[in-house]
C-alpha cells in the first residue's frame, strides 16, 4: 500500500511517501502565504522523486497547523487530518519502537508526548510563548547577527553559563542586546539562548514525565546546540533521528496506511 503524510507546519511543509513501511520519498519547502499551493508544490516534488502520480497514492493523511488547508482539496486531496501529537507519536514509534517520550520542537510549538505502543498516553504543548520554539532561536540569531544555522555550532564553543530569561521571546531579545553591550561573546550568548530554550522545553516535558527511550524530533533537533543542554536538563540521553523534521509527516503516512486503527 502506498500512502503519503503531509505535515503543513508553521514554517515548512513536509511530505513523506511510504510503501509498505518503507520511505519512497521525502520533500520539504517553506510555507508561503498560499498554504495550499505551498503544500501542493512539496507534494508534487515528493511524487516526482518517487516516480509516482497522485493516483498511485491510496490514502493521504495531513497534519500540522495548516492541515485543514489540504483536507479534500486538490491536488493533494487529503483523506483525513490528524493532530501533530498523534502523528508525532506514530512517526517516532515507526522508527524507534521502544520510544516512550517524544519531544517535538518545531518553529511554532514545542510538545512533550508520552507514548505507549505508538499511542499517545499524555501530552503537553507550549501554550503561550515563542521562547519554547524554534522561532526563538531565529529571533535571537537576528539579534546576534548570526546565521541561524551557525547558532548551534557557536554555542558548542562556549563553556560558560550565563543565566537568561526564557519566559518571553521579546524580552529575551532585549536581554541579548544587553549582553552584547556587556561585551559577552557571541558564543556565550548563543549557549545562554540554547540553555534557556532547553530549560523551558524540559520544564514543560517534565509535566508528562520522562521515560526512555526519549526521541527528539522537529526542526530544532537539527540544531546541534540544543541537544546537550536538553539532555543535561532532563538527566537522560536523547535519540535524534536522521530526518527529525519529517517524523510528523512520517507518522501521518503511517496512520494513512492503517485507516481502521
Amino acid at each position: 500500500m502506498i500512502t503519503a503524510g503531509v505535515d503543513v507546519g508553521a514554517k515548512f511543509a513536509k511530505v513523506v511517501i511510504l510503501k509498505d513501511g518503507q520511505i519512497l520519498a521525502r520533500a520539504k519547502a517553506l510555507v508561503g502565504f498560499d498554504v495550499l499551493k505551498s503544500a501542493s508544490d512539496v507534494f508534487e516534488t515528493a511524487l516526482k522523486d518517487a516516480g509516482l502520480s497522485r493516483g498511485d497514492i491510496q490514502r493521504v493523511v495531513a497534519t500540522g497547523m495548516g492541515r485543514n488547508a489540504v483536507l479534500q482539496k486538490p491536488p493533494i486531496n487529503a483523506d483525513e487530518v490528524v493532530s501533530e501529537v498523534v502523528a508525532d507519536a506514530a512517526g517516532a514509534y515507526q522508527v524507534v519502537p521502544t520510544v516512550k517520550t517524544v519531544i517535538d520542537v518545531g518553529a511554532e510549538e514545542g510538545r512533550g508526548i508520552k507514548v505507549e505502543g505508538g499511542k499517545v498516553k499524555d501530552f503537553v504543548i507550549n501554550e503561550r510563548c515563542a521562547a519554547g520554539a524554534g522561532t526563538f532561536v531565529e529571533a535571537m540569531a537576528r539579534a546576534l547577527e548570526v546565521k541561524v544555522e551557525d547558532m548551534g555550532p557557536f554555542s558548542l564553543k562556549s563553556t560558560n553559563t550565563i543565566p537568561m530569561n526564557a519566559q518571553c521571546c521579546v524580552f529575551a531579545e532585549s536581554e541579548v542586546v544587553s549582553l552584547i553591550h556587556s561585551k559577552i561573546s557571541k558564543e556565550d550568548i548563543a549557549k545562554a539562548i540554547h540553555d534557556a530554550i532547553a530549560g523551558r522545553i524540559s520544564s514543560m516535558v517534565l509535566r508528562v514525565g520522562v521515560e526512555k527511550d526519549v526521541v527528539l524530533i522537529g526542526g530544532c533537533a537539527l540544531n546541534p546546540g540544543f541537544l546537550p543542554p536538553l539532555e543535561k536538563e532532563l538527566h537522560t540521553s536523547i535519540i535524534v533521528l536522521e530526518f527529525p523534521e519529517f517524523v510528523s509527516a512520517l507518522g501521518a503516512a503511517v496512520i494513512a496506511a492503517n485507516p481502521s486503527r
Binding site: V82, S83, V86, A89, V120, D122, F123, I125, S260, R261
Partner: protein, 448 residues
C-alpha cells in the same frame, strides 16, 4: 484505535428552560427595582448564608457577586469595559475575574441584565452580607463598600469567618467549630436589625433555611440522575440550571424550580432522552468554565463527547455525602424542619459546611477523591481540568488533582484560561489541543 459504536439517541429541549430563564431575569430585575417596591437590597457572595437576611421580610432582594461577575463575562464587550475600568482604577488583572467584573460595573455606574441590556446607574445595596471563603472574597466587599462611599453612599457590611476546615462529618467534640459560626450569625441578626431598622422574623428564617436545604439537596438529586447513559443533561445546559442555587437557594421559587427540573430529568432518563444525541464519550470538567467561550462544549460534541458535569457544577450548590459503601450520594435532609432561631442556625451551618467545594480550600486529596467518585459513578472516560487564572480559590491545588487523577489511571486534559477575562484564554490553541486530546483518546470527529 477504539471501535466507535455509531448509536444515536433521541434528544429534545428541556421543557423548563423558559422557566429557568425567567427566574434568572426576574432575579436581577427584582434587585434593580427593589426600592420602587419599598424593599431592601443586599449584596454578598453566592456562598453567603443567604437564608439569614430572609428573616428581615419577604421584600428583601439580593445580588450575589460571582454569578453577576459571570453574567458580565458572558457579554464580552461589557466585560472588556469593566476590565478597563478596574485597571484604570489601579487594580491588577491578576485578581479574581468575577470581582473585577463586579467592581468594573460599579466604577462604570452601569448594571447589566441577563439579556445583555445595560442599565445606567449601578444599584447600590443597602447592606453587605458576606462570608470569607477565600482571600478574594475577604476583600471583595470591603472594596465595594469603599467604592460606594466614593459614590456618596455609606453601605454597612457584615462578614462571617467560616475558616473552620472541611468536615467529613462533625463529631461532638467539633461542635465548637459549628458554634463559632452560629455565634457570628446570631451577632449578624442583631446587626441586621440595627442597620435596617426592621424587626427580625424567626419564622421566615426557619422557612428560608428549610428551603435552602431542600434546594441544595434537590440539585444534587438532579446531578445524580446524570449517571444515566445517555446523560439527560450536558454541563453547558447545567450551568443555566445550577445558577438558581447561586442566586436564591433560600427562596421557595428555587425549591419549586428544582422539583420541576428533577421530575423532568427523571422522565428523560426513563425515556432515554439524551442531551447529546451522539454521546459515546463522557467527560467531566473542573472549576468555572471560561464563560465567554462555552463553544468548547460544542467542539466536544463534534466527537460525540458530552460533559456530564463536574465537582464544581455538582458541588457548588449541591450537597453530598459518602455512604458506608463508599458511594457519593445526595445528602439526606434532616428529619424535621427547624422551629427556632437556634435550631435554624445550627442546621444551616452544619449543612453548609458539607458543601463539597469547601474541600478545594483545605484538602486537595479530598477533592481528588470526590472527582474519582464522580468518574466511577458517572461512567466518565476523561477529565478536562480548567487551570482557571480567574479564580485562585477553586484552582488552588488543581495540578495536584491532575496528578492524583492520572495516578488513578484517568486521562486528564488540562487547559489554561480564565472564567471572567477573555484575554487569558486562547480559543484557537485550546481547540487545537482539545482536538489532539480527543484523537489521542481514539475518537474521530463525527461532524465539522
Amino acid at each position: 484505535m477504539t471501535t466507535i459504536e455509531m448509536k444515536e439517541y433521541p434528544t429534545e429541549p428541556l421543557k423548563c428552560w423558559e422557566q429557568a430563564k425567567n427566574l434568572r431575569k426576574n432575579y436581577y430585575e427584582d434587585y434593580l427595582h427593589a426600592h420602587e417596591k419599598g424593599g431592601l437590597r443586599w449584596a454578598g457572595g453566592a456562598w453567603s448564608f443567604s437564608a439569614i437576611p430572609a428573616g428581615l421580610g419577604e421584600d428583601v432582594y439580593c445580588i450575589t457577586g460571582e454569578p453577576y461577575g459571570a453574567t458580565v463575562a458572558f457579554f464580552k464587550d461589557f466585560a472588556s469595559k469593566c476590565h478597563d475600568a478596574t485597571e484604570a482604577a489601579g487594580f491588577p488583572r491578576t485578581l479574581c475575574a468575577y470581582m473585577r467584573n463586579y467592581w468594573g460595573s460599579i466604577l462604570l455606574d452601569k448594571y447589566i441584565l441577563t439579556d445583555g441590556t445595560v442599565v445606567d446607574g449601578y444599584p447600590a445595596p443597602d447592606f453587605i452580607w458576606q462570608d470569607h471563603i477565600c482571600c478574594s472574597h475577604g476583600k471583595w466587599y470591603q472594596l465595594v463598600k469603599w467604592l460606594e462611599k466614593k459614590r456618596g453612599k455609606e453601605v454597612p457590611m457584615h462578614c462571617i469567618d467560616v475558616s473552620v476546615g472541611y468536615p467529613s462529618d462533625f463529631s461532638p467534640e467539633e461542635d465548637y467549630k459549628v458554634n463559632y459560626i452560629v455565634e457570628q450569625l446570631n451577632d449578624g441578626i442583631n446587626w441586621l436589625e440595627k442597620v435596617t431598622g426592621r424587626k427580625y422574623n424567626d419564622a421566615l428564617l426557619c422557612d428560608a433555611v428549610w428551603n435552602e436545604m431542600k434546594a441544595t439537596s434537590l440539585w444534587a438529586e438532579v446531578c445524580a440522575l446524570n449517571q444515566a447513559i445517555p446523560a439527560p443533561l450536558d454541563e453547558k445546559s447545567m450551568y443555566s440550571l445550577y445558577v438558581m442555587g447561586t442566586l436564591m437557594k433560600h427562596r421557595p421559587e428555587c425549591v419549586a424550580f428544582y422539583e420541576t427540573l428533577r421530575e423532568e430529568v427523571k422522565d428523560r432518563v426513563k425515556r432515554g432522552i439524551a442531551a447529546v444525541s451522539t454521546e459515546r464519550f463522557r467527560v467531566i470538567t473542573d472549576t468555572q468554565p471560561p464563560w465567554g467561550f462555552l463553544k468548547i462544549f460544542r467542539e466536544m460534541e463534534k466527537y460525540g463527547a458530552v460533559s456530564v458535569g463536574s465537582l464544581y457544577t455538582f458541588g457548588l450548590i449541591g450537597m453530598w455525602q459518602y455512604q458506608p459503601d463508599g458511594t457519593w450520594t445526595p445528602k439526606l435532609m434532616p428529619p424535621k424542619k427547624p422551629q427556632t432561631r437556634d435550631e435554624a442556625l445550627q442546621s444551616i451551618v452544619r449543612w453548609t459546611l458539607h458543601k463539597p467545594e469547601w474541600a478545594h480550600f483545605y484538602e486537595p486529596e479530598l477533592k481528588t477523591k470526590m472527582m474519582e467518585s464522580i468518574v466511577k459513578q458517572w461512567k466518565v472516560n476523561a477529565v478536562l481540568l480548567h487551570y482557571n487564572r480567574g479564580c485562585e480559590g477553586l484552582s488552588v491545588h488543581i495540578a495536584e488533582n491532575r496528578h492524583g487523577l492520572m495516578q488513578a489511571g484517568i486521562p486528564v486534559f488540562p487547559f489554561e484560561g480564565n472564567m471572567g477575562d477573555e484575554r487569558d484564554f486562547d480559543l484557537a490553541g485550546t481547540m487545537a489541543r482539545l482536538n489532539a486530546f480527543f484523537e489521542s483518546m481514539g475518537l474521530k470527529k463525527l461532524k465539522e
